[in-house]
Each structure stands twice: as structure tokens, then as C-alpha cells.
Subunit: 282 residues, 2 copies
């Protein structure tokens, strides 16, 4: 059995960056993270073992330093930290920072700001904060058609990991309703590259194992995309979920990790699959 | 046989305005028009009878005054007129003026300007002139995908009479390629209202007569749209093209005039159809 890892797999730039930040800072001073650092329970559990706790608000921490995760936060968190005398280490992904800045600029320039993304996603909550809560959030063309627009000048940003096709449809609906639609395509190119790698992989193998948090939307999307190619696909969080029966008679297996999946977990998955083969042959 | 006229039919705002301008000015002083005034041979022939000639360049006229038609012209025409000591009466449609101004502004603001429209349409030639010839013109998503973009900031305007669905697809392709796409939806609302009226009419009658120049793209589009509704449709320029056989056994006929079709021609069409009925009955 041949095992193939996708060309793009595991931590994206922003996740790698914030994990390095936590590792570095936690050696210097006790830190917590504001919210689970990434959408990956394996990583979050490991951090907990090291004493890095995911707190749901700044008031909850007992430490003097808190790490902002890659998703970013609304600006009032920075003010709150100052009031509480908490030192913030900002792990906001630079690509998310662009979304926040563009939303802020559009708002200041008098545009009706529309964020295309999931309303309850932490990244989107953070971005909306940069418009003083004024931005409207749409996640479907239907919503884009019906949200109440007060202005004929609409400024659009998009959640970094949002689907391009739905994003484009939302913009189309806004174009029907506004004189001017100023779109910043703030999607992260990693998302596309990873999705393309998933599709390519699915065409080359018989079974694809998608590794990543069940609560990670980018990982779930990888699973959907691979399955759509007609290949047998499984979405797992850890090697323990693998079943040897999935690989009976299979010659080529593909593996891809989501943007919040550590390379270590991907490697463990590879080892586990290899061990099935050995036990088959023995 | 009942004859129904579409809710929107005949001259649009811009055409009515320029025809009034020519009629008014030609009473004061001899004038020519730069290009055929509108895409309707009936109107153009009538103007010729009144001594208003359609010249293809300013050098061609022997008069001291020339009317700019609703489509507008590139700015160098205004300079040329000054040099030739020709008085220009500007009939550029105010909606086309917006396209020109927006293209100019986007160009000055450093955007790569893309005009969605037909490259050889006089309106588009005029608009491109307002970017010093720098604007790129696309009329299909394929072109939007392949034109060479030098910048990552793209400013988009659209020909007033262009199809919305193709326009939206072009913008979608540009969104794939640029960081920022700033779209001014410069389509004219008359186009939509007229098309909606055509669709409504087609659903209410058995035969639709679309009246307007064969060289008028908005009229051709009305014909396409009505035919798509499953009704029998004919595109004619003048009542002489009508055939009585089209109306055998027909109870409801609908008529719609293009944006450059005089109400008079529509009325003549109505009369001719009525005359068929009388001769049927006699």
C-alpha cells in the first residue's frame, strides 16, 4: 500500500505562527489563550497539559498574559486588557489583520460594510468589531438579497476561509442592489491551495483520510471536496479513529491535514495505517 | 384580437432627450450628428430629410454645429471640435456620463480599469477614451479570466445596456485575480425595467412583436428574452415587415418598442395589425 501526503497539509502560516508564539511566550511567563487556540482538540489538550488554559474571557484568567489566537478579536478586547492590566500577545493571523483593517477603512470611508462569512465564527466577530459592530454579516446569496442596506455604497470583505463560489454569489446579489460595490477579496490563498491539493489527491488515490478537528470548518470542507471527487473519504481527528477495514484491498491511500492539524498527528496517522498493513500480512 | 403594449416601450430617457435636443437645435442652426443619432433607421432617415446628416467624423461636416448622440464620445472629440471651430451640442445620456466619470475617476485613483461591455460599441469607445485609452474591455467571463492585468486593484464599470448576468460573471472572474475589485454598477435601470416588461408581456399574450432597429442591441435582447418565454416572437423595424399570417387565430398580441424606437412606429404597427383583422373579417 502506497501512502501519499497532499502537497499542502497541516498547519497554515497563521496557525504555525500563533503556536510558535504560545510556545515561546509560555517559556517566559505563564500565559492563557483567549478561546481554544485552534480548532484542534489534540493541540488544545497538549497545551492544557503545559498549563496553557483556554479562557472564554479576559476576566477568567488568573495570569498576567493572554495570547490572542489567529482568528483575531474585536478591538474592545485590547482596551479591556489594558483596564485589567493584562499583557496581550497578539497571534492574530496577518491575513485576518488585513480583513480587520479593510473593514475598518471601508467603515471610516462611509461604506455600508458587509462581511461575507459565518456570523458566529470568531474571525467574523472580530472583524465586525472593527466597524463598531455596524457591519452586516451574510453567509448566503439569500441573505445578501434580503439584508437591509441603508446605503447605495457597499464595501465587502470576506472571511479568510470562506468558499469562493458562495462569496461571488453574495457579491452578485449586492451588485443588484447597490450603485457601488467595493470588494476586498480577503480570502487566504492557503485555503485555495489546500483545497486544490485535496482535489488533486482525491484523483490519485482510492481512499482519502482527512485529518483535523471535527469543529474545524476548513477541515470539514476538505472532506466534502474529496468525497465529491468520487473517492472514499474519512474525516478523523486522531489515529485512534482509523479502522483497518477501510484499507482492505486498497493500494493507494491519500492523507491531508487541515490548517489546524499538527504534522505530528498526520505522521501518527501514517504510522497507524502502515501498522494495519503489517498485521494484515502477518 | 386584443393588442397590448408593454408597460415600458419606446424611447428611453436618454434617447428622448437627445432627439429633443436635435429638434430644438436644428430649428436654431443647421446641425449634423456625429454618427447615426440612434440605432433606428426610421428615425435616422427622417432626420436626413430635415437636413440633419450623420457624419462619421467632425472633419466631414460642412456645418458649424454638431450634436453628440446619447452614446457619448471620447474626450478628444471635444478638443477636435474646438480646433475645428465647431459648436458641440452634447446629447450624451446622463447615465452614460456617469460611466465616463466613474471610469475617469477610477483611472485617476490608480485602478486598473475594466469596462464590461462590447468593445466596438460607441458608448464603450467613449468610456475608454476617458481613461486615455488605458481601460481594458471584456464582454465575457472568458475574457475577464484571460486579459492581462497589471495591477491587483481593479476598477469596474459596465456598459449601461449590458446584461446583468454576464456582467456579474465577469466581476466574479476579476475577483479571483485581484485583491480589490471596485465595481460601479453603471447599468441603466431602464434596461432592466424594459426587459422585465418584455418578459411580463410574453407571459400574457400569444404573439409578441418587438419593434426596433435590427442594429439595436437592446431591441435584439428584448426579442431573445420574449422568445425564451415560449411565446412566438418577431423582431421588426417597420410595419411593412408584418405578415397577416402571423396573426391567424391569435387572440392576444403584445407589442414592445426598443429604447430607440419612436412611439409613432409602435402606433403604426398597432394600426397595421388592426387592418389585418379587418381584412380577415371582410
Amino acid at each position: 500500500m502506497r501512502i501519499k501526503i497532499a502537497d499542502v497539509s497541516g498547519f497554515c502560516f497563521g496557525v504555525e505562527r500563533v503556536i510558535e508564539l504560545v510556545e515561546k511566550k509560555s517559556k517566559e511567563t505563564p500565559v492563557d489563550t483567549l478561546g481554544p487556540l485552534i480548532h484542534n482538540p489534540v493541540v488544545v489538550r497538549e497545551l492544557e497539559k503545559k498549563g496553557v488554559k483556554a479562557v472564554s474571557s479576559l476576566k477568567e484568567t488568573k495570569k498576567k498574559a493572554v495570547v490572542i489566537r489567529a482568528h483575531g478579536v474585536p478591538p474592545d478586547i485590547y482596551r479591556e486588557a489594558e483596564n485589567l492590566n493584562i499583557n496581550l500577545f497578539d497571534g492574530t493571523c496577518p491575513f485576518v489583520k488585513i480583513v480587520q483593517n479593510m473593514a475598518k477603512k471601508l467603515c471610516e470611508d462611509g461604506y455600508e460594510v458587509v462581511v461575507v462569512g459565518k456570523k458566529h465564527h470568531p474571525e467574523v466577530i472580530g472583524v465586525v468589531g472593527y466597524t463598531n459592530g455596524k457591519a452586516l454579516v451574510v453567509s448566503s446569496p439569500e441573505e445578501a438579497r434580503s439584508i437591509p442596506l441603508k446605503k447605495k455604497r457597499v464595501g465587502v470583505v470576506v472571511q479568510t476561509t470562506f468558499r469562493f463560489d458562495v462569496f461571488a454569489k453574495c457579491v452578485e446579489e449586492l451588485m443588484r442592489r447597490a450603485h457601488e460595490v467595493r470588494v476586498f477579496n480577503t480570502r487566504c490563498s492557503d485555503t485555495d491551495r489546500r483545497q486544490e491539493a485535496a482535489i488533486k489527491l482525491a484523483k490519485e488515490v482510492e481512499v482519502v483520510i482527512v485529518v483535523g478537528g471535527k469543529n474545524s470548518s476548513n477541515t470539514r470542507r476538505l472532506y466534502e471536496l474529496t468525497e465529491k471527487q468520487g473517492v472514499k473519504a474519512y474525516h478523523i481527528e486522531s489515529p485512534d479513529e482509523l479502522k483497518s477495514s477501510w484499507f482492505n484491498g486498497v493500494e493507494e491511500v491519500g492523507i491531508i491535514g487541515g490548517a489546524s492539524t499538527p504534522q505530528k498527528v498526520v505522521e501518527e496517522v501514517v504510522e497507524r495505517i502502515k501498522s494495519f498493513e503489517i498485521s494484515h500480512h502477518s
